[in-house]
Each structure stands twice: as C-alpha cells, then as structure tokens.
C-alpha cells in the first residue's frame, strides 16, 4: 500500500465516521476498486460484464467461463434442420476482454459466501464484493428415468448448443426416408418455452423437403405451450403430413426412456423413434447449487430490482437460472436483465439505491425459413417478482398475410445479428 493510499483511506475513514449520510456511501469509497465476479459467459453474464465495465470503469469485473467459445442456442434449431452452420452460432470473448473485463477461462468449484470468494478448478480463488451467477441451465439427469449423460450420446437433448446440436443434425441426416423422429417436450419451466415447437417445425420442414415419407412426433408433458395457436395453425397449413403433436391429455407425457430400444414410455404406451430427441427436465446451472442460491424447485429466487438472491446476500442471479416471474427463460430476457442488473450493481457499489426498472422480452420463432412468429412482453418489478405490464405484450396476429410472416422471419435474423453484436461484437 502506498502512502497515498494510506492517507486516502484515513481521510475516508474520518469522513465515513463523521456523518450518517456519508456512512451509507462508505463501502463504495473505502473500497477503491469494488470487485464483481460473474460466473457464466452467456447472454446474461457477457452482457452484464460489458455493461458494468462501461457504467463504472472503476469496478473490477472478472468473468469466469469454462469455454473459450460461446455457442448460442437461439437459431440452433436451424442448425439441426440443416439450414445453418454451427459456426454461425459461435462467438469469442476477445471484444469483451478488450473492454477491460478480466476473463478467467475456468470452472467455479466452490463459493464461500462468508469469505466472499469463488474457488476455481484451475487453482486459486477470486474475492468479490458482489458475485453474479449466470450459469444458464443444467439437465436434471435421471429426473426422467433412464435419461442420463450416457443416454444423451444416443438420444441427444440438444438443449445446450454445441456438440449436442451437431449430433442431432447428423442423426437426422443419417435417417432413412420414411423414418420417425420423436421429440419429448418437458413440463414448465424450462429454457426457451417456444423452442421445442420451433424445433419440431424446422425438423418437419427438413423432412418435407428432404425425406418426405418421414414425420416428426412431439410427445408433450403439457396441454398448453407458448405461441400455441400460431404454431398449430401453421402446422396445419405447412406440415399436415409431417408433424404430429401429442398433448399431455392425449398421452404425450413421457415417463421413462429405454435408450437401447430408442423408445419413450408414456402414460398410454410406448413410442419408438428412428431419431429421438429428449428435451429433459432442467434446473439452474451447477454453480447455483454450490452457492446455495437455488431453492427446492432447482431455480433461483431473486429480488427483481437488484437480482440479488433471496437466499444468499451479495449474490445476484439472472438469466435462465433465475425465477423471473412472467419473464421467460430467453436470450433476449437474459440480455435485458444483464443491462438492468449492471446499472443496479453500479449503484449498489456506489452506495446508492437502484432506481425503477422496466424490461422487455421479444422472442421470434421460425416455423419455416420464411415464416416467423413472435411473442413480446413488457415487465416491471411488482410483488417481489417480474410482472407483465397490463395491456402490453402478446403474440403475432393469428391471421396475417405471408408477407408478414416473411417479415418476422427476416426480423428474427436481424435480431440475432444485433444482439450477438451487442454482447460479443
């Protein structure tokens, strides 16, 4: 510590002790460089890291991420259907590092809430004033009996983009014409509520155009799903012979998996597929358990103003891992939350209270390459969670000309380019 530091600390100590109002600000000024550690470099964590560093460059921001390449989930269904290459989904962290964020390509193996440290798998520990956990989802292995990590190598989930995405695509490509593809969709909540139905749509598009004697069957643990009317109407129009949706009440709930037989057991019987995609039950990413911020549901309750955990102080959770009321687990929502949380943290670390917030979500789905539909919502903190603003939001009109559907498909593409540029570019 230099002489200057000592005199500054003394000076601030005197100031802090002198008046109650100054005391409120003491943590920020006494700590020359507040330290924020973020675990998870997806849409939420990477957005937060960059925004926080820009909001207040004095804050030391460290982003812990196990992979040097981020593979985005939005649009990965188009990769599965052979409409897009996986590398169009992939982004690096160079620009984020260039903004002054410290990158630690490592895995968090322990969180000491009392000492405020995160232990890294590669050795060493990071001290924090505020810890942000943005781990996304983990699969709840064996929650669906028979579906474990080994099973996912035969019957891919493809619900975390990357090798699993490629595996499912290759299985579809290898399937003979006349084959049956089965998708098992989980009950709520899970990452990307319209995702299973976009996937079914784009696989149906692939089958219709490339293997027209084949079909895709969705076995669903639900009777209702996101953008349902729009999807169902589009399926009738585009894929009457290629896509079948079996709801919960029609016996769609999958109760166990027979991996070797490529068979899913339901309440009503057995379904064998040539390609089987199990979208399994999910929970907050593993570090949430390590930090004790996940509740019995497996997800993380938070204060909607600050994203601070309701279970542990000085730890914030956002993105798919968080329980965010009406906000869906989407890349758009994670990005919006990252920006809002960054300014809330900058204020907290400067000793002031976060202000009012409002958040938006917009999710596009592709039913075909030139057929897009959307859902949008505006949210505000209310009653301890995020509540949709009354009168706002909703889905695309149920009756619309083909030009409108084509425009929404174009806007979906634009959205992906814009958001990934903001986060990684």
């Amino acid at each position: 510590m230099t002489t200057l530091d000592i005199s500054r600390r003394k000076l601030l100590g005197v100031a802090a002790a002198s008046a109650a109002s100054t005391l409120v600000h003491a943590p920020a000024v006494a700590q020359a460089n507040p330290r924020v550690v973020i675990v998870g470099g997806g849409f939420a964590g990477a957005t937060l890291a960059r925004t926080l560093k820009k909001a207040d460059p004095r804050i030391s921001v460290t982003l812990v991420e196990s992979s040097r390449t981020f593979t985005a989930c939005p649009f990965s269904n188009a990769v599965i259907a052979g409409l897009r290459d996986l590398n169009a989904q992939q982004f690096g962290y160079d620009k984020i590092a260039g903004d002054g964020v410290s990158l630690a390509f490592d895995t968090a193996t322990a969180v000491d809430v009392g000492a405020r440290t995160v232990t890294l798998g590669g050795g060493g520990a990071l001290a924090y004033d505020r810890l942000v956990l943005t781990p996304g989802i983990d699969i709840r292995w064996n929650a669906l009996p028979g579906y474990d990590e080994a099973a996912a190598q035969q019957l891919p989930h493809a619900w975390k983009a990357g090798e699993q995405t490629t595996l499912l695509r290759r299985q579809l490509e290898a399937m003979d014409d006349g084959g049956v593809v089965i998708i098992s969709a989980p009950s709520n909540p899970f990452r990307c509520p319209p995702g299973p139905y976009e996937r079914a749509s784009l696989i149906a598009y692939y089958l219709k155009t490339r293997k027209p004697r084949s079909k895709v069957i969705v076995l669903d643990a639900k009777d209702q799903f996101s953008k349902q009317k729009l999807f169902v109407n589009a399926w009738k129009e585009l894929y009457p012979d290629h896509l079948e949706w079996v709801s919960l009440s029609q016996g769609g709930n999958v109760t166990s998996v027979d991996v070797g037989a490529k068979t899913l057991l339901t309440d009503f019987g057995r379904r064998k597929g040539d390609v089987v995609n199990v979208i399994p039950p999910q929970k907050a990413g593993r570090v949430a358990d390590l930090a004790g911020v996940a509740d019995r549901s497996g997800w993380c309750p938070i204060d909607p103003l600050t994203f601070e955990s309701k279970l542990q102080p000085n730890i914030h959770v956002l993105g798919d891992a968080a329980i965010a009321g009406g906000m869906p687990k989407s890349g758009f929502a994670a990005n919006a939350q990252g920006k809002v949380c960054a300014f809330a943290l900058a204020k907290l670390l400067n000793g002031s209270a976060p202000g009012e917030t409002k958040l938006i979500n917009t999710c596009y789905s592709l039913v075909a390459p030139d057929y897009g539909i959307s859902i949008a919502g505006v949210y505000r903190p209310a009653n301890g969670t995020f509540t949709e603003v009354e009168g706002s939001g909703g889905v695309s009109p149920s009756k619309a000309p083909p030009e409108m559907r084509a425009l929404e498909a174009t806007l979906a593409n634009d959205w992906f380019g814009t958001i990934t540029t903001e986060v990684f570019g």
Binding site: H25, F343, V389
Partner: protein
C-alpha cells in the same frame, strides 16, 4: 481539516454517482438495444435509436400504441410504456452516439 476531508469525500461520492446517473438508462431503455442497433454500423431492418430526434421516437411510439402505424412487435411493446417513460427513453437515446 475534518471539514475539508468531508468535502473531498462528498465530492468523490457525488462525482461517481453523477457519472453513473448520466449513463444510466431510464426504465425500459436498455432493453431496446436487444433489437435496435447501438449505431448504424450494421445493416438491418430495424432502425437504430441513437442520436435521433426524440420527437420522432415519441411520435412513432404513440402511433404504434394507437395502432395508426403498422407494426410487427412494436405495437405490443409500446403499450407497456407511459408517455413520460417514452419521453425519457427518447431523450436518453438522443444523447447517445
């Protein structure tokens, strides 16, 4: 001596808060850049909001809300914001580059 110290400390706090406040978007504003480009650096069907005349943004949001202007998602989003909130968002984007 103590009085001077207090003043210096208060100024430091004030400066930090003031710079954060100038950057801080009003409620809802930061979400817009999920679709709207931060600048005109990339070609897209969605116009950038930065550096625009705030009156244009206010007029557009009112037209989206009333249904006068055709929209894909903006009619649904505009209905979630009050006139005062739209005004604040428009003013904040006008100051950005």
């Amino acid at each position: 001596m103590t009085a001077t110290c207090l003043l210096v400390a208060s100024l430091m706090v004030w400066t930090a808060s003031a710079s954060a406040a100038a950057l801080e978007p009003p409620p809802g504003a930061s979400a817009c850049s999920g679709c709207h480009l931060a600048s005109a650096g990339r070609r897209a069907g969605v116009p950038p909001l930065t550096g625009r005349n705030p009156a244009d943004i206010v007029a557009a949001m009112q037209a989206f809300r009333s249904g006068q202007r055709a929209a894909t998602v903006m009619d649904r989003i505009a209905k979630g914001f009050s006139d005062a909130e739209v005004e604040a968002i428009a003013t904040w984007y006008a100051d950005r580059r």
